[in-house]
């Protein structure tokens, strides 16, 4: 029951703000129900974690001081002296990691559902840009505690930029705001982390969310085919039905975050010393491990060619892979007509397999040389690809279960 007072309040607002467009959106937005519906929760989950990042980030900014003589000390104060400072910082760091993981799953499931096909190419592209922005968030935020690990991670990470042909030298100077990683670098990374990247992210996120509302949820072609047409696929109202389900997921995520932050508070390490040595067993966050392992494996000269530097090859390949991901809708330009995409699927399977194998290598679970890594990831990719092919064949022939 809506009380008379709330009703009057609502009438007041509607008269001044108009009914459109939020009310229409709430009334019209629907979410299709089929065997992939679970995938639709990932975007909302990422959004929830991003909100946590904003809130905890603002709280940290109240006490953080971005200067080499103070940064480490201020984070130590946050961790040890301020009430629940350890919780805020640990939640910020853990939530960042979960966010990157959710975004990667979001990307992968969107690829699987082929939701990037016309007219949603820009939704995909803006999503890939957002992933890039969040990786930049991770990299820039890593330096801020100014500990040994952060210092060397930044030195190596920015040195990678310097490897790019022609523009590398200048880019390196810009990335570090000087020749070396110094207080200038810290100030610049802070500006990126708390001003430039958030503004850019909000802008791109606005476009991404607008496009999602504008086009509605994409229904996988196979699902639509089974039902005869996309219109026949059952759906539920986003508001309040799907949103309530979203909130259950967010509540679980909040619990997980609290557990991680409480049971495994983020470490601070030792203060950075520009002329000291890197800490033992230095390695980056999990989402950069594949890059770290590849850089360890790549030889100084690829195929024994003098000018073909292994790291340059690695950086260029990583850049190329990013570009391929961005351009998936173009590479699969006949998706809307329902053409299959065997080459792209193989590349995707290979990328996933290589990412997993190189990450395991970076963790020290596998000790592989480059040739073996390539071979194993290739084999795993073939296996993945064949499973996928068989799965879709079986599904099409009706021998696997259909939607209820």
């Amino acid at each position: 029951m809506v009380s008379a007072r709330t009703g009057r309040g609502r009438a007041f607002l509607v008269e001044r703000l108009g009914r459109e467009p939020l009310q229409r959106l709430a009334a019209e937005k629907r979410v299709p129900i089929h065997r992939f519906t679970l995938f639709y929760f990932l975007g909302g989950m990422a959004l929830f974690l991003f909100v946590i990042q904003i809130v905890t980030g603002i709280l940290l900014a109240l006490h953080y001081r971005p200067a080499p003589d103070e940064a480490f000390e201020s984070v130590r104060t946050i961790m040890t002296e301020l009430n629940f400072g350890w919780l805020i910082r640990s939640a910020h760091a853990w939530s960042a990691n979960l966010l990157i993981g959710v975004l990667m799953l979001h990307l992968l499931t969107t690829y699987i559902m082929r939701a990037y096909r016309r007219p949603r190419e820009l939704t995909w592209a803006s999503g890939v840009v957002l992933l890039g922005l969040f990786l930049a968030f991770g990299f820039s935020g890593y330096l801020l505690p100014w500990n040994r690990l952060a210092f060397f991670a930044t030195r190596v990470g920015t040195a990678l930029v310097g490897l790019l042909p022609v523009v590398g030298g200048q880019l390196l100077l810009w990335a570090r705001s000087g020749k070396e990683v110094t207080g200038e670098t810290l100030a610049q990374f802070y500006a990126f982390h708390v001003v430039i990247l958030p503004l850019a992210t909000l802008a791109v996120l606005g476009v991404h969310l607008y496009l999602v509302q504008h086009h509605g949820m994409s229904i996988p072609q196979t699902v639509a085919k089974e039902r005869g047409a996309a219109e026949n696929v059952p759906s539920m109202a986003f508001f309040p039905k799907f949103l309530l389900r979203d909130m259950v997921g967010w509540y679980v995520a909040l619990g997980l975050l609290a557990a991680l932050a409480a049971l495994s508070p983020w470490e601070l390490g030792e203060k950075a010393d520009p002329f000291g040595t890197p800490p033992e067993g230095i390695r980056p966050e999990w989402y950069f491990l594949f890059m770290y392992e590849s850089l360890r494996q790549l030889p100084p000269r690829v195929l024994g060619i003098e000018w073909l530097n292994g790291d340059v090859v690695g950086v260029l390949l990583a850049g190329l892979a990013g570009l391929v991901v961005l351009l998936v809708p173009l590479l699969d330009w006949r998706a809307a007509q329902g053409w299959s995409r065997p080459v792209l699927n193989f590349l995707a399977a290979w990328a996933v397999a290589a990412f997993l194998i190189q990450t395991a290598g970076g963790l020290g679970l596998l000790e592989l040389r480059l040739a073996r890594s390539a071979l194993f990831s290739g084999l795993a990719a073939v296996a993945l690809w064949l499973t996928w092919l068989m799965g879709t064949r079986l599904h099409r022939s009706g021998r696997l279960g259909r939607d209820p």
Binding site: V156, A159, S177, F275, G276, P278, G281, L295, R296, G310
Partner: protein, 158 residues
Amino acid sequence: MPGPSRFRSRRAWLLGALRAVIGVTVAAVLYPVVRYLQPRSASGARAMETLAPYRVSDLRALEAKGEGPPPFNFGGEPCLVILTPEGEVRAFNAVCTHLQCTVEYRPDLREIFCPCHNGVYDLYGHNVAGPPPAPLKQYKVTLRESAGQEEILISRSV
């Protein structure tokens, strides 16, 4: 009476002028911004030589414990001094030629090691294993004062 063609050309001229003014304004705004973003050039004063913060006897004591000496600041970059098993003192720029981590001396393995990506150099600074593409830069070492207690003077010219 001016014909329509003259009007058009006058309009074209005005539009061209407008675009030029907008272009100049944008350039005038962007120029200082781009120049501001340019990183400062490194200060020219670069130490040509320095005295290591320890003596040869300290290196011996560390080696007896199986440890390498900590690097120190030489002209804005970390410098590594090692005492070889043959008793020779050598000094290197400790910045790994791979991705600019700082290398360390491992007396037990008789190697200089970069922990970031497992790069290995021999005691002459030659890159012998792992990803480093080039040898470490070597500095000139001069020992002075009494034998066994020598001070270690590092200089850039080799």
